[in-house]
Symmetry: C2
Subunit: 364 residues, 2 copies
């Protein structure tokens, strides 16, 4: 059995849905899915219900994550039209400020130019600023950040025009980084009928084969891979008003390894995109005594019902994957082994300060 040993993977973009929608995912089930997929650290997005845009909501998420997370984690703070002046105080407890500039799931979408500029200026230039932006909005976000003298991270780039724009910006020394998802690297709009129209809803949408090919052709300027793990239940996805989003934590690594097998990426290049670069971009501590063992010869079929995610479905249903995580060691202890989650809820650590610990200390 050929075993590949990798550092613990970092997923800079997940939606663990708790608090607000624990029927879709919880910190318990979501971090179990992370470990099963080889991820030892996940950075969680702020579009919860209510959205994580202030200390109250951040504190509530911190409490539930602290009690239930099985792997390490960080929280992205949400930007909205009103909170630009208030985010700086929350920076020590968060891994980034997320701006939703285009259509997405949840109420966090910001309109117009003003709030974009206000956040680009107000958020400390040393703290990560990231955005959901598509098309021209990516160009607008890059300029706003550039004029504010700061870097920006573009989430889930999905289209040819976009990745080529980011390439051009990087080539001129503009401080922009980006991530792409496994689904935009492996699925296209041609897959929508087979997946089903509701299940295939995702933002950014599945794009064309030319877009997918352009992402693959520009991997040299893709800084991170990110699952954008965004679980919804099957009844929700099959409803008349299907919410956008795919679960992705448990299917990502074999797809990433397939890029290596295809010669599109070296193994070191993969490690940069799932460990080194996310750590650098989001300023994460190194995870010591932490690794993942992968049986690179293992062949398995994706069955949503077998997954740890509470969503229990996958857009890759029925796909044959090569490469199975056999063991995850986190902080010197077995966290996942031979199909079983070993890490207990609450064993995961916040990669930043806990806002609740700080409050307690402040009160003592």
């Amino acid at each position: 059995m050929p075993i590949l040993k990798l550092p613990g993977l970092i997923d800079p973009h997940v939606h663990l849905r708790e608090p607000g929608a624990p029927h879709k995912e919880t910190w318990d089930t979501g971090t179990a899915a992370a470990l099963a997929g080889g991820f030892t650290c996940v950075l969680d997005m702020p579009n919860n219900t209510p959205p994580v845009v202030d200390a109250t909501a951040l504190s509530a998420k911190d409490r539930v994550a602290r009690e239930h997370a099985r792997c390490d984690y960080g929280f992205h703070l949400g930007a909205n039209e009103e909170n630009a002046a208030d985010t700086a105080a929350l920076a020590p407890y968060t891994v980034g400020l997320k701006m939703y500039l285009d259509q997405t799931f949840g109420p966090l979408k910001m309109e117009g130019l003003g709030a974009l500029i206000a956040h680009a200026r107000a958020w400390h230039p040393d703290h990560p600023l990231l955005c959901h932006a598509e098309g021209r909005t990516i160009a607008a976000a890059i300029l706003a950040a550039h004029l504010a003298g700061r870097a920006i991270h573009i989430c889930h780039v999905s289209r040819k025009d976009e990745i080529e724009l980011i390439r051009a910006a990087k080539e001129q020394g503009i401080r922009v980084t980006c991530e792409v998802t496994p689904h935009h690297l492996f699925l296209t709009d041609a897959d929508i009928p087979a997946i089903g129209p509701g299940r295939a809803e995702v933002r950014p949408r599945l794009a064309t084969a030319a877009d997918r090919d352009a992402l693959r052709a520009n991997l040299t300027i893709v800084d991170c891979f990110a699952t954008d793990h965004a679980p919804h239940t099957l009844p929700e996805k099959d409803s008349e008003n299907p919410p956008p989003g795919f679960p992705g934590l448990e299917t990502a690594l074999p797809l990433y390894l397939a890029l290596v097998d295809a010669g599109l990426l070296t193994l070191n290049g993969l490690i940069e995109r799932v460990v080194t670069n996310p750590r650098r971009i989001f300023g994460l501590p190194e995870q010591t005594e932490t690794w993942v063992e992968v049986d690179t010869a293992a062949v398995w079929q994706v069955h949503g019902a077998d997954l740890f995610t509470r969503a229990r479905w996958s857009p890759f249903e029925g796909w044959t994957m090569r490469g199975g995580v056999t063991r995850v060691v986190l902080n010197g202890k077995d966290a996942f082994r031979d199909g079983t989650i070993v890490a207990a809820p609450g064993s995961g650590r916040n990669v930043r300060k806990s806002i609740n610990e700080m409050s307690l200390r402040g009160a003592s």
Copy 2:
């Protein structure tokens, strides 16, 4: 009678509607309005019916302008989703390439990032590129031009966020120029009820008093004044589906002079914005033996019915203006004198080569 002598004014942004909609305006009536307003050169926009996006449409406009224009003129070419590869050949006959990136009058609006980038790259960096863009789209257009290594001109900037963004870009040495209209400098959304909701429709929309004040406070970075003279008939403006646009050529100069009277601008600063800068930005020839005489003490009331524009209305109806054009000399000849248009239709000159002359020469 205190007479102020000015160089002939240049309006870099007018819609003379012919061919396509001569009931709104013609080259005859539109250039008569220009001369009555002190303008000796107008640059005409491409959103005719059909739009001026190719040699055929440009040739048709050239023919009618050549026969009927009473003042000098140039043509902006229209960008669309398909013609990026074909515009370069038309550059010698045009004064700029106009991209409609946000909602406007006519069918020329381009969606998405791809066409914006394609045009920014394909249009020669020495030829003027201009755009109708609002809000974030301005930021996107500036970045696209910057990455293509070229300048861009932003038409009719109307809001605080926008002018401040352009200021920030200029301060960082990015090659962007801009224009503002008299109506955005003098009217706000508070004027809409008095003007009437249909008549007040314009793109960009009339904005807030704070926006108007920000434009006035940032005149140092406004390169040009432009009327965006966009005539529609009163029945059209008072209809259930009023098209956006104001006539503006005959009311602009007194409003510009009012900015000087208010101490917001020097007279030299005004001349820069209506003569020197438009000439430089759009690469126009100097108009020799050409000047305008203004009775700076003349006080008159705006009555749409008295105007030369075929639209025969004004959003400034009933306003008391100070400053009246008494004489316009163009190319050594009287073109307007004491209320009468003297210049004959066809006496105006194309500031570029004529596409039709070129064809004739090519055929000889």
